[in-house]
Amino acid sequence: MAQNDYAVVIYDKKIKDRFLEVVDEKTYNKEIIFAKQAFDNNDALQKCSTASIRNAIVNIALTGASLNPALQQAFLIPRKGKCCLDFSYRGLCKIAVDSEIVYDIDATVVLEGDLFYHEQGLNPVLKHVPNLYASEKDKPPVIAVYAVAALHHGIKKFVVLDKEKIERARKSSQMPNGPMWKDHYDEAAKKTAVKLLYKLLPQSERMSVAVKALNDHEGLAKISNADKLQERFGTEQSPEEMVACPEKQDAMISKVECSSCPKVDGCPV
């Protein structure tokens, strides 16, 4: 997309119309400004496909999350040429509470050395006594994560993910070694737990849109073998290897052309 064309897409009337079906004009103006700021400060976002930009911005309206950087609920992120709407753990919790499917929802990581006990079955029990640590440097490794939701009639539901399950979610994400898992492991693990907990809760359209948007670009949704193959080999064209050909006065020819030459057997190259 040419420079500044993204502004045309952001201010597209169709996007505005979709926004106004769900939220008021004040919220639209506010979110569009945040979106524009995000694009202005990110060259990779500006190069994303028009359709993906449109989808991402419309999803902000449908989920009710905000792009306000101070709130840190949702972000626009470029991935493989597509603009993706990504939610933080905080954003997901806000969407769940706003859509009135839960009274409260929260997730916590369990660290090595914490007192942690949970039981499933007819009388589920969850007990977590965190062990305090002196500084971030002394922080023990994460061994599990859990998410708890309080429903309106007082019942609490929770999911617990052990380290192996967290790692499985990390590996199935599109950027298992990206900045999110590398620098914000706790937050990413909590988000995974909230996403899984959502499956046990009464469904809401807002939350479904958010979880689908996340799964579409972040894992849990199946990645095709074709995508995996391209990831393992890269789609970048490797520069063609050239060799000097004595048959052509040492002019450079491609290695493919060289290997097809009938005189390759006795060739000094």
Partner: protein
């Protein structure tokens, strides 16, 4: 032969291990068990495919050890040929030194096909370093039969990928998908991945089977395909079903030339029309009207 990975087994030795189950053997068994016991006849298409594989995967030097470009091929003698013709043909055959002759036209086609693969932006990456034509042998736990595969290329760098090169008349998605079913590429993929996962102790689900399809006619279209999970599952099921059949045949030392010992119903396929008497009546009227022009 013990289960394991054998990088130095030649193609001839690999095909000589007839007591070990291969994908091509299962392909014949799938038709009818008796078919599996028939000797394999090498068709012109198979020789072309072998020459193409050797040229792309091993290069010209290795190709020259097994193949030779035949420029002046003498007339093939028949029953009424003179002794001179027979002698000329025998001399020419002796001069080949046991190598397989390939016509100049076919050799040019093979060269163009290779160039086409090397110019494909992604296939080129797959063709980089790796091990070609390694034989993997393993024992199926259920039937205790030995199975063998010989994937065209296992790329270097522990990428968990196996790919095969396929020359085809049509490399488009739909046509190649039908080739996958017809020629058992899905079953082949499932066998490759199972053999590889056992030999290398890799996780089956993490492995990818890819196919590089190259057309045999200009402009030598090249496409890279991956066999996705559902198709692999189909291939896996077919592979193990055929292994069970082979096991029963071996146990009883009997390979029947039928699949069903009773009678099988044939039903009208949905695409055939239902003949109606109305249409016959209409047709009769039309014939009468046309022939007698309304006079009868």
């Amino acid at each position: 032969m013990q289960p394991g990975v054998y990088p130095n087994i030649t193609s001839k030795d690999y095909h000589a291990m007839t007591d070990i189950v291969s994908n091509s053997y299962l392909g014949k068994l799938a038709k009818v068990p008796a078919c599996a016991k028939l000797p394999q006849k090498e068709t012109a298409a198979m020789i072309f495919g072998r020459a193409f594989h050797s040229y792309v995967l091993e290069g010209l030097t290795a190709w020259n050890q097994d193949f030779v470009v035949a420029l002046d091929v003498p007339t093939k003698p028949n029953k009424r040929s003179t002794q001179k013709t027979i002698d000329a043909y025998t001399d020419w055959q002796n001069s080949l030194d046991g190598k397989q002759p390939i016509s100049l036209d076919d050799f040019t086609t093979i060269q163009q096909m290779k160039n086409s693969v090397m110019q494909h932006p992604f296939a080129k990456n797959l063709l980089s370093d790796g091990i070609s034509e390694t034989t993997i042998i393993w024992k199926d736990e259920e039937t205790e039969l030995l199975c063998k595969v010989r994937p065209d290329r296992i790329p270097a760098g522990n990428k968990g990928v196996i790919w095969d090169l396929k020359s085809t008349s049509n490399a488009s998605r739909n046509a190649f998908l039908s080739d996958c079913i017809k020629f058992g590429y899905a079953r082949e993929g499932a066998m490759y991945l199972e053999g590889f996962s056992r030999a290398m102790e890799a996780k089956y689900d993490d492995l990818i089977f890819a196919l590089v399809a190259v057309e045999k006619e200009e402009p030598f279209r090249v496409e890279v395909y991956t066999i996705e999970v559902d198709l692999l599952e189909y291939g896996y099921g077919e592979f193990h079903r055929l292994l069970q059949i082979e096991k029963v045949c071996r146990d009883h030392d009997f390979w029947p030339n039928y699949q069903n010992s009773g009678a099988i119903s044939l039903f009208k396929p949905a695409y055939l029309p239902v003949w109606e008497y109305d249409s016959l009546e209409n047709m009769e009227k039309a014939i009468m009207k046309g022939k007698y022009n309304g006079t009868k």
